[in-house]
C-alpha cells in the first residue's frame, strides 16, 4: 500500500513522552529505600515448623510445579536464562518452559538483566499486572544491586528490590544456568512452605 507522510499521527505524542518522563522521575524519587525482603514469615514458619494440611500441600505442589515465566529480559542475563531453557539445562523438566508474554498468565518474574530508571515503571507495571500469586527472582548482580552499572546511578536502578519485592537473589554476572536452577529450586522450597488456607486468619 502507498504510505504517504503520516508523521502527524505520531508526533503529537510529545506530551506523552513528557508524561512518561515525569512518571519516571516520580518513581525515582519514591523508591530510594529498598523494599524489604518479603519472606520474614518464612523464618517464623520454619522455626515453628507448622505442618501444612494436605490441601495446602496439593495446592503448593501444583503451584511450584508449573511456574510460568513472565517476559522480562532486559539485558545479558537473559541469555543465561535462555540457556537454562535451552537444550542443555532444560528448565522444561520442571514444567517451566512456557514463557507467557502476557503477565496475566505468568507466575514468576525472573529479572534477567539491568533495570534502568526508564524501564522501571514498565517493570513495576508488569509486576503489578501479574495475577497473584506471583514471585520474583532477582537474577544477576544487576538484579540484586545494579551490579557493574551501579556506579551510574543516574541511569540504573540499584536492584530490583527498590521497585518490586524480590523472593530469591541469585548472585553472579551472569549466574550460570545451574545457579539459576538452584535458585528456582529454592523458590520452590519456599512455595512449598506457603500456607494458603488462611480462612479464619486475617
Amino acid at each position: 500500500m502507498e504510505v504517504g507522510d503520516i508523521r502527524p499521527y505520531i508526533y503529537p505524542d510529545i506530551e506523552l513522552d513528557r508524561e512518561e518522563g515525569q512518571g519516571i522521575e516520580d518513581l525515582k524519587a519514591n523508591s530510594q529505600p529498598a523494599i524489604p525482603d518479603p519472606d520474614k514469615w518464612l523464618d517464623e514458619e520454619l522455626s515453628q515448623n507448622i505442618l501444612l494440611t494436605s490441601a495446602d500441600a496439593l495446592i503448593n505442589w501444583g503451584r511450584r510445579s508449573s511456574l510460568w515465566t513472565a517476559i522480562c529480559f532486559p539485558a545479558c542475563c537473559a541469555f543465561e536464562f535462555i540457556a537454562a531453557n535451552g537444550p542443555r539445562f532444560d528448565l522444561a523438566r520442571f514444567g517451566m518452559e512456557i514463557l507467557r508474554a502476557s503477565p496475566r498468565q505468568a507466575d514468576l518474574m525472573i529479572t534477567a538483566g539491568t533495570l534502568t530508571w526508564k524501564m522501571a515503571p514498565n517493570v513495576q507495571r508488569i509486576y503489578n499486572q501479574m495475577a497473584e500469586p506471583k514471585w520474583v527472582i532477582a537474577m544477576g548482580s544487576c538484579g540484586i544491586s545494579g551490579g557493574i552499572f551501579a556506579s551510574a546511578p543516574y541511569a540504573v536502578v540499584p536492584g530490583y528490590n527498590h521497585i518490586i519485592p524480590v523472593d530469591v537473589y541469585i548472585p553472579g554476572c551472569p549466574p550460570r544456568p545451574e545457579a539459576l536452577i538452584y535458585g528456582i529450586q529454592m523458590l520452590q522450597k519456599k512455595i512449598a512452605k506457603r500456607r494458603n488456607l488462611t480462612l479464619g486468619k486475617d
Partner: protein
C-alpha cells in the same frame, strides 16, 4: 483502500517477546499494515561511556563485555585494539592467534543466536533456536574453558590475553571444528529451503545497495545488500591479513539474504579458526603491560568487524589512568536507522521479521 481507516498507535515493547530485549517501537498501524514506526531507545541506557571515564583502562574491559553481550570477545578485542593503538603496545604473536580464534568462535556463537532468533521471529516454534543454542553451548564451553565465565569473558586484555589456553582446549576445538559443518548443514536442511520461510523472508524488507551505503550500515546487513565490505579484509586489524577467507555477499538485500549471509559467514569463520589453529605458535600470551596503564595524551580509534558490523572504539587519553572520553560506535544502532524505511507498508508480522533480520542487541544500542 478508499474507506478511511484511522491508523492506531500500538506499543511494541519494551516488554515484548520479540524485540530482543527492551526495545520499544511505537508503531502506527492501519489494521495489519505498518504505517509508521518510531523506535524509542534508552530502556537499557546504563551509562557505559560515562562509567568508562571513571575506571582504569583494565577495569573497562568488563564493561565492554556487557555492551553487545552475545559477542563479548569481539568487544573486548575492539577495546583492547584501541588502547594498544593509544599506548603503542605490541602484542605477542601467540596472543594474536588466540585472539583471532576466540573472536571467530564468538562470531559463530553470535551468528547462531542471530539466525536462531530470526527464525524464531518468523514463528518457527523455538526449534531452530534450540538447535542453534545447542551448538552455541559447545562454543560457550570452549570459551568457558579458557576464561571461566559463560557469557562475560573478560579474557582479551590490553597487550594480549589474560591466560594461556589450557591443554585440553586445542583437542576440543579440533573436534568442534570438525563437527560444526555437519550441524550447519542440518540447519540448512531444517529451514533454508522451507517454502513458508521463503514466503516470509524473500523479498521482505529490501535494503538496496544505495540505501545500505547511505545509512552507513555494516556487517551482514550491508553485505546482504551486495556490498563486499568486511573490515577484516578492507582494513585488516590484528593478523587477519594472514588468513584466507571469502566474504559472502547477498544480491537483493532482503531478510532471506541477510539470513543466508550469516549462515555462510559461519562457515568462513570455521575456515579462519582452522587456519589459526594450525598456525598457532608457542610463546608468551601477554606483553609486559603495567598494572595501571597511562597512555600518552592523544586519541585513537580502532574498529573491527563484529558479528553485527563495524564496532569502533574511540578513546581520548589525558595521560591519566582512566580515559578522558570513550566513545563507542555500535553497529546495531547504525544498522537500525534503516529500519523505518524497511518496514513501512509491510505487515506487523513482517515488522517482526525485518527487525529480527537486522539482529540488534539493545545493550549495544543504548549503551
Amino acid at each position: 483502500m478508499a474507506l478511511k481507516t484511522e491508523p492506531f498507535v500500538l506499543n511494541m515493547g519494551p516488554v515484548h517477546p520479540s524485540t530482543h530485549g527492551v526495545f520499544r517501537m511505537r508503531t502506527t498501524l492501519d489494521g495489519e499494515v505498518v504505517v509508521d514506526i518510531e523506535p524509542i531507545f534508552g530502556y537499557l541506557h546504563r551509562g557505559v561511556e560515562k562509567l568508562a571515564e571513571q575506571r582504569t583502562y583494565t577495569g573497562i574491559i568488563p564493561l565492554t563485555d556487557r555492551l553487545d553481550y552475545i559477542s563479548s570477545m569481539n568487544n573486548n578485542l575492539a577495546y583492547c585494539l584501541a588502547v594498544e593503538k593509544l599506548a603503542g603496545i605490541k602484542v605477542p604473536e601467540r596472543a594474536e592467534y588466540l585472539r583471532v580464534i576466540m573472536a571467530e568462535l564468538q562470531r559463530i556463537a553470535a551468528f547462531l543466536i542471530a539466525v536462531g532468533a530470526f527464525l524464531n521471529d518468523c514463528g518457527a516454534f523455538f526449534t531452530p533456536f534450540m538447535y542453534m543454542f545447542r551448538e552455541r553451548e559447545k562454543i560457550v564451553d570452549l570459551l568457558e574453558m579458557v576464561s571461566g565465565q559463560r557469557l562475560t569473558y573478560n579474557y582479551i586484555r590490553v597487550g594480549g590475553v589474560s591466560q594461556d589456553i589450557p591443554e585440553e582446549f586445542l583437542p576440543a576445538l579440533r573436534t568442534f571444528v570438525a563437527q560444526m559443518p555437519g550441524f550447519i548443514d542440518e540447519y540448512d536442511r531444517l529451514l533454508m529451503q522451507n517454502e513458508i520461510l521463503l514466503a516470509r523472508a524473500k523479498g521482505v524488507g529490501i535494503l538496496t545497495r544505495e540505501q545500505a551505503i547511505n545509512c552507513a550500515a555494516s556487517g551482514p546487513v550491508l553485505r546482504a545488500s551486495g556490498v563486499k565490505w568486511d573490515i577484516r579484509q578492507a582494513d585488516p586489524y590484528s593478523i587477519y591479513d594472514r588468513f584466507e577467507f571469502d566474504i559472502p555477499t547477498g544480491t537483493v538485500g532482503d531478510c532471506y539474504d541477510r539470513y543466508r549471509v550469516r549462515v555462510a559467514e559461519m562457515r568462513q569463520s570455521l575456515r579462519i579458526i582452522q587456519q589459526a589453529m594450525t598456525q598457532l605458535p608457542p610463546g608468551p600470551v601477554k606483553a609486559a603491560v603495567p598494572h595501571l596503564i597511562r597512555p600518552p595524551v592523544g586519541e585513537a580509534y580502532a574498529h573491527l568487524e563484529a558479528p553485527k558490523g563495524e564496532l569502533g572504539f574511540y578513546l581520548v587519553s589525558d595521560n591519566s589512568i582512566a580515559p578522558y572520553r570513550c566513545h563507542i560506535r555500535p553497529p546495531s544502532l547504525i544498522n537500525l536507522t534503516a529500519l523505518r524505511d524497511m518496514v513501512r507498508g509491510w505487515k506487523v508480522a513482517d515488522l517482526i521479521v525485518i527487525f529480527g533480520s537486522i539482529d540488534i542487541t539493545v545493550g549495544e544500542i543504548d549503551r
